[in-house]
Symmetry: C2
Subunit: 468 residues, 2 copies
Amino acid sequence: MNRRQWIYFCIVSLIGCVIWFLPQPESVDPRGWHLLAIFIATIIGIILKPLPIGALVILSMTVATVTQTLTLTETLAGFHNSIAWLVVFAFFISRGFIKTGLGSRIAYYFVSLMGKRTLGLSYGLLLSETILAPAIPSVTARSGGVIFPIAQGLAKSFGSEPHLGTERRIGSFLMMVAYQGSTITSAMFLTAMAANPFLAGLAADAGYSLTWGTWALAGLVPGLISLAVMPCVVYKLYAPAIKETPHAAEIARHKLDEMGKFELKEWLMFGVFLLLLILWIFGAFFNLSATVAAMVGLSLILILGVLNWNDVVNEHAAWDTFIWFSTLIMMATQLNTLGFTPWVSEQVVHVVGGMSWLPAFIILALVYFYSHYFFASNTAHVGAMFPAFFLVAIGVGTPPQIALLVFAFSSSLMGGLTQYGSGPAPIYFGSGYIDVKDWWRMGFLLSVVNIVIWMGIGPLWWRLVGII
Amino acid sequence: MNRRQWIYFCIVSLIGCVIWFLPQPESVDPRGWHLLAIFIATIIGIILKPLPIGALVILSMTVATVTQTLTLTETLAGFHNSIAWLVVFAFFISRGFIKTGLGSRIAYYFVSLMGKRTLGLSYGLLLSETILAPAIPSVTARSGGVIFPIAQGLAKSFGSEPHLGTERRIGSFLMMVAYQGSTITSAMFLTAMAANPFLAGLAADAGYSLTWGTWALAGLVPGLISLAVMPCVVYKLYAPAIKETPHAAEIARHKLDEMGKFELKEWLMFGVFLLLLILWIFGAFFNLSATVAAMVGLSLILILGVLNWNDVVNEHAAWDTFIWFSTLIMMATQLNTLGFTPWVSEQVVHVVGGMSWLPAFIILALVYFYSHYFFASNTAHVGAMFPAFFLVAIGVGTPPQIALLVFAFSSSLMGGLTQYGSGPAPIYFGSGYIDVKDWWRMGFLLSVVNIVIWMGIGPLWWRLVGII
């Protein structure tokens, strides 16, 4: 830790200590209150980053266990959470897309197909992302690792580069669409972003389930509308100078030629991916959970040699996520069990109790969404706010399924607001194509568009297919 | 997988299928029998290695879950086993010895101190290993990664190299002592080899606990005697040509000079290590489990910056071990719960039922020890044989604590028998200093010496300090 990080570390520790010794409400178990202190310190730590999130949760586990706030068994309980393992397995599988080159091939294919005009080009990128989204739960790997380099390469090929002052020629537009698109694709599938299963796990703890299939069905129509509308909005309000790009399709075709024919491993990966989608979509009918489906996919990938065991063990992002994911979900679960989360929601429900549920819920949903200006991580946001907000929403009378879906989709969409709002954001921002001012302006505008589509049109679709 | 591996894979699958459909004893739950088929296939897989052990256990988990032999929750249960996490945390901590160079410094220090004669030199290496053993649970990392390169460097400096035909000059002796020493230090501490906590976990499942402190106390005297006697035996029966090595101490001093003064991080690592030892030895008095102690050590290492989070996430051996360890311990536990292990031991007890416990137990212990000729992994051996052998030993009337300690120590010591008997064995064998013939001859001789010391003198010591 450098000096600044030490200061942050002291601040975080101090906040924890202060909360620890605050007067405590009677209905909360004292252990629950102490855990709250550790939990809030952790969340603030995730925001201030004195240490990486993984190291922070190790410290939190240690403090919780040594102070006997939690028993060792309780502390380790998160590690056999089946949703945590869904994320781990999905991370492993996603490595297969990257290692075989299948991810890039898909992206180049759609660019070669749709890339004659700038707008079409942007749709090509979005379409590739949407296809990859169900099986690459790291939005940073998917958008930052697969789509971003392709978008950047295309922009450069048109001479659009920040250091030449030509970024607005086409690069800024492509980057904006690709980044905003990643928040939409993240919202569409349970396995498209690590914080999605995290939220589903927290909801399951509260007694409400959201399967892979239901999530995908509910997100299908609003997601497609969003994907269709967003590039047009950006095209109007953040227009590229270059509108025709016959060159782009050529480049993509050239790249595809370079890649040569589909290799056996790509076919195998593609086959496993299709099987995985089928199992995820229809698994509920034969009682196969998403985690078991992912386990089957991973086993096939290992047997067929698409990945070897070293690739799996070296997939650091999976282990990193596993540690923080399991620990945070364990703490959130215990806060609920020990009476803290119910107590908070009772207090809030008491305040907004006079309202009917719809205006109360709209306020809750908007506060949830726009408080993301203060978060640099979807995970921290979901962990800190979702459990209480969800209980409050139900407490004021919101139908649980509506509340669950709105919070679930918001948790991805809100990432578009700022240049630090989700994992890949710093990558896009760091490339220098988009101004902070433009990011915030377009981020806010598109948040309104997304809210109208997902929370306005969404419920009609959910009613139509019988989810609510 | 190459062709040979595919054949092995088919053999392993076939064995699993055959056992699956064998006629089943009535007292065993059918799920238990199916799990047995998966378990035996896994163990044979670990021996034949069609895939690395981690990949194999993923397949086993998948088969167990998809066939509904186990529920998903049961399958994942091993992952919050506190002993599995002790191993993971200890692996992380051991990285600190290697990263800071403290491990090598300790070894060079003792060589500089005791290295004037060949025999003294070998004691210097053993002493360093013993000091590192409690906190480096990977015997491969400790002996193969820290001690082996130093022994090899010293041998070369005396012109003793296999390709020159001069290996017996001093190198063969040093390698033999260093390798055999690693099996003794592995036996001395719960955290000195990954299969030790595995065995302790299996024993705990059967209702018998073995704490860090008890293990270390029981192993102390036999361990020290073994460490004192073994080099003399090797010195007599596998003598080096060079007996005086004034040069070696000089080299070590030179290396220490090169390393310069103790760096701050080395001091910090050393401090954490001492604290860890204190917590491990005396933890039982203030109700602090070995896992929590390791958690405290890891937290300090992260806060003090001895390791950063990347070092931790990149410690692949930890994740690899975590996966197979948790899965094997889960399967062994379930075999017990579902009635298979008790059934086997009943059958064997029935056979040896006429004997008094001492001869029966001696036979059991010797069979356990020498069947290691057929195993290339301590883990596979412990997993396959310990649960049933332990129950049988108790069944014929052996005092449980004696049976537990004898099996526990055997599980490390038996590694000396062959050039494939434990993790670092292939490293030493691969260096070319030791003939297969010499390895087997000395391995067998030293196994007798070790058995006399650990099983002959050991119990007197255990009685003296009140462990049995």
